[in-house]
């Protein structure tokens, strides 16, 4: 009986702990995805202004920069979107997760958040907070 009670308490709290951490992982990843978009948007505003300025003296050069920037922006944005989709998927699956699934998802969510930071850094961009 004692063992059963201990097992019950551990199961309830342990399971709750995993689930709570999945939700925290989802929040972390969603915030990373959102921050990724915000940082990229600010970079885009600055780039558009610079391209418009360049166009006054070198329209052909500005054309090349715009085309190149649009490609770079798409690539980074894809990373933001993938991170967001993963957060959405984890949120959808979270209620049915076993503790083993949850452990895997926590790893996956945090790795994806780290990938977002890495992707931004590769392009000279940073999430707010100096990550």
């Amino acid at each position: 009986m004692k063992l059963l009670l201990i097992a019950l308490v551990l199961a309830v709290t342990g399971c709750g702990g995993w689930r709570l951490n999945v939700q925290r992982g989802i929040s972390t990843l969603a915030l990373s995805a959102s921050g990724c978009g915000t940082v990229l948007d600010k970079a885009n505003d600055a780039k558009q202004l610079a391209i418009r300025e360049l166009a006054k003296t070198d329209a052909n050069g500005a054309q090349i920069v715009l085309t190149g920037w649009a490609q770079t922006r798409s690539k980074i944005f894809l990373g933001c979107e993938v991170a967001n989709l993963l957060a959405v998927e984890a949120k959808r699956l979270a209620p049915a997760m076993t503790s083993k699934d949850a452990a895997l998802w926590i790893g996956k969510l945090l790795a994806a958040a780290a990938d977002v930071v890495k992707l931004l850094n590769e392009h000279g961009l940073k999430l707010p907070g100096g990550l």
């Binding site: 929040s27 959102s34 978009g37 505003d45 418009r52 329209a59 500005a62 715009l66």
Partner: protein
């Protein structure tokens, strides 16, 4: 034994109350964390969708400026 029995009963009652309070606290905390995660996911999805709609407009404006400058510079 008759002296110890009421003490044991009180101990068990207190223990049960503590566990109940703790479990309830966990449930409340879990609900808050789940709601926050949902909010973050919703905001992220909406924010990214807005950017996807916004950027082509800016690109088109920049392209128009470039085209106008190209004509001037030819």
């Amino acid at each position: 034994m008759p002296v110890i029995a009421p003490i044991l009963i009180e101990l068990v009652k207190t223990g049960a109350q503590m566990i109940a309070t703790w479990v309830m606290g966990n449930a409340e905390q879990r609900a808050e964390v789940e709601a926050l995660a949902q909010k973050n996911v919703d905001e992220s999805t909406a924010g990214l969708a807005a950017l996807k709609a916004k950027w082509p407009v800016g690109d088109a404006e920049t392209q128009a400026i470039i085209d106008a400058e190209k004509e001037k510079q030819q």
